[in-house]
Amino acid sequence: MVKIDSRRSRRARFESLCAALRADVYRFAFWLARDRTVAEDVVQETFMRAWRSFDTLAESSAARAWLLTIARREHARLYERKRLETVDLGELTLRDDPALAAPAGEDLSDVRRALMALPREYREPLMLQVLMGYSTEEIAGQLGITQANVLTRLYRARQKLRVALLGAAEEDA
């Protein structure tokens, strides 16, 4: 009986985690992959792996970072698999995504196009900061790089966005 209750409790906690963090994991995966279908696959794989290693999650406050780490690995795995079937997933997505074909104007499609065009090394910390609300120190921990490196990447990301969206001149870093 105790074991059954324990399993139910574990499942309930996992359900709660899925409900609370699915949007974050999906958006994270989307901006890594720049492709909705790949993002959905990453989300599914992430939650499957998370369920299998759920006991290793010590504190629920660490759940989001834990899931994003799993999602990053799953994206890498999936990307490697899909690269075998496609020439260049990034280029194909950029070329075929209808959001990128939208007419110019002051709307989100322009911003999304500019974000998609950012190199991943700039896009990922920017997403963690702007969307997930992480501090530069937390981002450094997530990505396994120094905080100074994070600051530089974020600065360069915004410089590229200024150039792309506001027509600003590129500044020296």
Binding site: R27, R36, A101, V111, R158, R162, A173
Partner: protein, 220 residues
């Protein structure tokens, strides 16, 4: 603090100005304008990054490793499917189509024709093809919808864009117009399953339904 240092730090974290940065901003109009520019960009970045999240799909699994075993894998998949479906109850078909359209607002803005290769790939994923002569397709995605990947297209008409979803696994007894959330829609029986059509601008969805019905081919 000089201007270069200020710009580097503000460019990295425009919402986290220190007292020193604030002081520099107060005495340097050029840097103040720079900071204002970045601050104004932040809400747009946040909104653009917050892409719509599709409803949860049931878990598909390919490589369950032993010794978990088939029974345990099936149980786990069923559990997760129940979790994810339980969170998102199944709506009516018309409501689900409308909700899906609202997740992808960019579809209505696309104007350039989708390449034939991209369109064919989206259709083939669901075992469907379109014979030549269909209206110009300006948006084509393979979308997870009520348990299946389905083609989600937008075609252009003289009276505006029309969304078309090819739903080979849905059943519609008869042509059923509907209005949801400011959209006008139509569900129609197709040679296999159904088509769902939606317009925000009062376009002739029945004409598009007829054109697509005539040209849709089911490969399986």
């Amino acid at each position: 603090m000089n201007c270069a240092e200020f710009r580097h730090q503000v460019g990295a974290a425009p919402l986290e100005l220190t007292a020193e940065q604030d002081a520099h901003r107060a005495e340097c109009p050029a840097c103040a304008a720079y900071a204002a520019e970045l601050l104004a960009l932040e809400p747009r970045l946040r909104a653009a990054l917050a892409v719509a999240v599709p409803p949860a799909a049931p878990v598909r699994r390919r490589d369950f490793s032993l010794p978990v075993g088939i029974a345990a894998a099936a149980l786990l998949a069923a559990t997760l499917a129940a979790i994810l479906f339980g969170i998102y109850p199944r709506p009516s078909l018309a409501a689900a189509v409308t909700e899906h359209a609202q997740h992808e607002p960019d579809e209505w803005r696309a104007r350039d024709p989708v390449s034939q290769e991209a369109l064919d790939a989206v259709l083939a994923r669901s075992g469907v093809a379109l014979a030549p002569g269909a209206p110009t397709v300006t948006y084509a995605q393979s979308c997870w919808f009520r348990g299946r990947y389905v083609p989600h297209l937008v075609v252009q008409t003289e009276r505006g864009p029309v969304m078309v979803m090819v739903l080979a696994h849905e059943h519609v007894a008869r042509a059923t117009p509907f209005a949801e959330q400011g959209f006008q829609g139509l569900l129609v029986p197709a040679p296999k399953g159904a088509l769902a059509l939606l317009t925000p601008d009062g376009a002739d969805v029945a004409a598009v339904a007829a054109a697509v019905t005539e040209r849709v081919r089911y490969l399986n």
